[in-house]
C-alpha cells in the first residue's frame, strides 16, 4: 500500500508566535520550527498501517527549505522516503492554494491513502483534509480515532460531539487523525542515522504542474487586513482559601450575574 503522510512545520507553541508586519504572513524566523504535533500521530498511524499491510510510507511537506527538519523527523520515525514541495512562489498560500498545490503533488506521486493531522497548531483551520478529499475526488475520512483497512475497504471511527460515527469507504482515501488515535514513537538512534540516507525528492511548482497564478500571497482567496497583539487580560483577584474559597467564588459569579 502506498501511504503518503502530510506533515507541516509550525512555530513551536511554547515560543512567541508572530505575524510579519510587511506582508502579514506567519513569521517563520520568530519562533523555532517543530513538526505540527497532530502530524506526528498521522506519521505513527501511517507506520502502523504499513506494518500491518505492507507497502511504503512517503512523507510530503510543503514549506521553505527549513522544513526539511520536519521531514527528517518523520523519516527517523520510520517513513521510507520524502517529497518536499518548496518554491518561493508558494509563500503566503492560504488553505485553498495549499490544498490545490498539495493535491497536484499527490496526483503526481500517486497514493492509496493520504494521512494527515486533523489541524495544524498555527493556523488551526482544520480544513485541509476536507479540501484535499474534495480536490482529489476521494472519500473524506476525517477526525479518525481508529482506522482499519481490509483489502481495499477502509473503516474509521470519526470523532463527533456525541461520541463517534463508524464510517466506511473504498481506497484510495484521505484520512485525518486526532490525538487520541495512538502514541507516536520516538525516533531511535538507528532510525535517526538511517534517515540521513533516505531519499528526499525536492519539487518546485513546475515539477508538479502547479499553476503559479493559483498559489502564493497574491493569489490567496482571503487576506489579512490588519492585526494587533491582543490586549493583555487585566490582572484579576486571587484569594487564598481560608475555608470560604467556594463562597467567595460564588460571590464573584453572582457579581457577574452568572448565578
Amino acid at each position: 500500500m502506498n501511504i503518503v503522510v502530510c506533515v507541516k512545520q509550525v512555530p513551536d507553541t511554547a515560543t512567541e508566535r508572530k505575524l510579519r508586519s510587511d506582508d502579514k504572513t506567519l513569521d517563520r524566523d520568530a519562533a523555532d520550527g517543530v513538526v505540527n504535533e497532530l502530524d506526528e500521530y498521522a506519521v505513527e498511524e501511517a507506520l502502523k498501517l504499513k506494518e500491518a499491510h505492507g507497502g511504503e510510507v512517503t512523507v510530503l511537506t510543503m514549506g521553505p527549505g527549513k522544513a526539511t527538519e520536519t521531514i527528517r523527523k518523520a523519516l527517523a520515525m520510520g517513513a521510507d522516503k520524502a517529497v518536499h514541495l518548496t518554491d518561493e512562489a508558494l509563500h503566503g498560500s492560504d488553505a485553498l492554494s495549499t490544498s490545490y498545490a498539495m493535491a497536484q503533488v499527490l496526483k503526481k506521486i500517486g497514493f492509496d491513502l493520504v494521512v494527515l493531522g486533523s489541524e495544524s497548531t498555527d493556523a488551526r483551520t482544520g480544513v485541509l483534509a476536507a479540501m484535499l478529499a474534495e480536490r482529489l475526488g476521494t472519500p473524506q475520512l476525517t477526525l479518525a480515532n481508529k482506522v482499519d483497512i481490509e483489502g481495499s475497504s477502509i473503516r474509521i471511527q470519526r470523532l463527533t460531539d456525541y461520541g463517534f460515527d463508524k464510517v466506511e469507504a473504498t481506497l484510495p482515501a484521505v484520512v485525518s487523525v486526532v490525538e487520541k488515535i495512538n502514541e507516536p514513537r520516538y525516533p531511535s538512534f538507528k532510525g535517526i542515522m538511517a534517515a540521513k540516507k533516505k531519499p528526499v525528492e525536492t519539487l518546485a511548482i513546475g515539477d508538479a504542474s502547479i499553476d503559479a497564478a493559483q498559489v502564493g500571497l497574491a493569489a490567496a482567496w482571503s487576506e489579512v487586513v490588519d492585526f494587533a497583539a491582543a490586549p493583555p487580560r487585566a490582572a484579576g483577584t486571587v484569594v487564598k482559601d481560608e475555608g470560604d474559597g467556594g463562597e467567595k467564588a460564588a460571590e464573584f459569579l453572582a457579581s457577574k450575574k452568572f448565578i
Partner: protein, 317 residues
C-alpha cells in the same frame, strides 16, 4: 438587503443555539436564509428559525444528505450558492462546520475564513489566533465569502422573519457519497450542553486526581447548567473521555464563563480557552500560570472549594 445563507445545525429535530447566533449575526449584514440539510425538520424548528430572523428556510429533506461524511452538505450549499447568489454563507465553526466550509470553498472557488469571532461590514471577520495572542481582521477576496463563526461569538436575539419555506431537491454526485456513515455511536453525556457551544464550561485537570473525582466537576457544571471540559492531563490519564479535552489538540471553547479547577494552565490548554469572556481558576499552586489569565482565582484545594461553590450556586438559584 442581500441574502445570507446560514447552515442550520440541528440534533434530533432541534435547532442548536449556535444557529440562532448565526442568524442574529447575519441580520446585521443582510437577510438571513436558513438552510436545513436532511430530514427531520419540525414545526417547532421552523418557528424557532423564523423567530430569530430567517426570512426563508430552505429545506433539503433527502435522507442521503446525512448518510455520508460532510460532502453532501457542501454540495447542497454549492447548489444554493449557484441558484440564489447569496452575499455570504455562514456556518458554525465546529469541526464539521469548518470541513463543510472548506469543501464549499473549493466547489465555489470562494475564499473561506474559519473561526471568526466577529463579522462586520464587507464581511471583514475578526479572528483570534495563536491561542488568543493576536487579533486579526481578515476578509475574502474571491467568490462568495464563506465564514465559519465560532459559537458564543454573538448573543442570540430574536427578531421575527417571515420563515417562508422552500423545498430544495439535490442530486448528490457519486463523489459526495464516497464515505458512508454506517453507525452513529452516542456516548453518555446526559443533559449537559455541547462543550463548544456552552455558555459556561467547568473543566477539571490533573488536580482532580481520579476519574471518580470528576463527579465534583460534573456537579458544579450541572448546578450552573454548564458543559464539562478536561485538560489533556486528565484525558490522557483516562479520567474523562477524550472528546471533552479543551486545548491545542482538543476543542477550542469561547464561553461566557470558564471555570478551571486543578488545571495549571499550560500554553497548550490556554490555546483552547483563552478567549473565554470570564475566567475563574481554582488551584492549590499559587504559582500556576492559569492565575495570570483568571479574572478571579482561588488558591486552595479544589476538593474543598468546588463542592462549597456548588452548594452556594444551588442556594442562590
Amino acid at each position: 438587503m442581500s441574502e445570507i445563507l446560514v447552515l442550520v445545525e440541528h440534533v434530533d429535530g432541534e435547532v442548536k443555539k449556535v444557529t440562532l447566533e448565526l442568524l442574529t449575526l447575519a441580520r446585521t449584514l443582510g437577510t438571513p436564509s436558513a438552510v436545513w440539510a436532511g430530514p427531520g425538520i419540525t414545526p417547532d424548528a421552523k418557528a424557532r428559525l423564523a423567530e430569530y430572523g430567517a426570512e426563508k428556510i430552505y429545506v433539503a429533506p433527502a435522507g442521503d444528505i446525512v448518510e455520508y461524511v460532510v460532502a453532501p452538505k457542501a454540495e447542497l450549499l454549492a447548489q444554493l450558492v449557484a441558484d440564489k447568489s447569496p452575499s455570504a454563507v455562514l456556518v458554525a465553526a465546529t469541526a464539521e462546520g469548518k470541513e463543510i466550509a472548506g469543501r464549499l470553498a473549493v466547489k465555489t472557488d470562494s475564499g473561506v475564513i474559519t473561526d471568526a469571532v466577529g463579522l462586520g461590514e464587507g464581511f471583514v471577520a475578526d479572528q483570534s489566533i495563536f491561542g488568543g495572542g493576536i487579533n486579526v481582521q481578515s476578509k475574502v477576496r474571491k467568490g462568495t465569502p464563506i465564514v465559519a463563526v465560532r459559537p458564543n461569538s454573538t448573543a442570540p436575539a430574536p427578531a421575527a422573519g417571515a420563515g417562508a419555506e422552500e423545498e430544495i431537491s439535490v442530486a448528490l454526485s457519486e463523489a459526495a457519497k464516497a464515505a458512508r456513515i454506517v453507525e452513529r455511536v452516542k456516548q453518555e453525556k446526559g443533559a449537559r450542553p455541547e462543550l463548544t457551544e456552552a455558555a459556561i464550561v467547568v473543566s477539571g485537570g490533573r488536580g482532580v486526581g481520579s476519574a471518580e473525582n470528576f463527579s465534583i466537576i460534573e456537579e458544579l457544571a450541572d448546578a450552573l447548567g454548564a458543559a464539562v471540559g478536561a485538560s489533556r492531563a486528565a484525558t490522557d490519564a483516562g479520567w474523562y473521555p477524550h472528546q471533552f479535552q479543551v486545548g491545542q489538540t482538543g476543542k477550542t471553547v469561547s464561553p461566557q464563563l470558564y471555570i478551571a479547577a486543578g488545571i495549571s494552565g499550560a500554553i497548550q490548554h490556554r490555546a483552547g480557552m483563552q478567549t473565554a469572556k470570564t475566567i475563574v481558576a481554582i488551584n492549590k499552586d499559587p504559582e500556576a500560570p492559569i492565575f495570570e489569565l483568571a479574572d478571579y482565582g482561588v488558591v486552595g484545594d479544589l476538593h474543598q472549594v468546588v463542592p462549597q461553590l456548588t452548594e452556594e450556586v444551588k442556594k442562590r438559584k
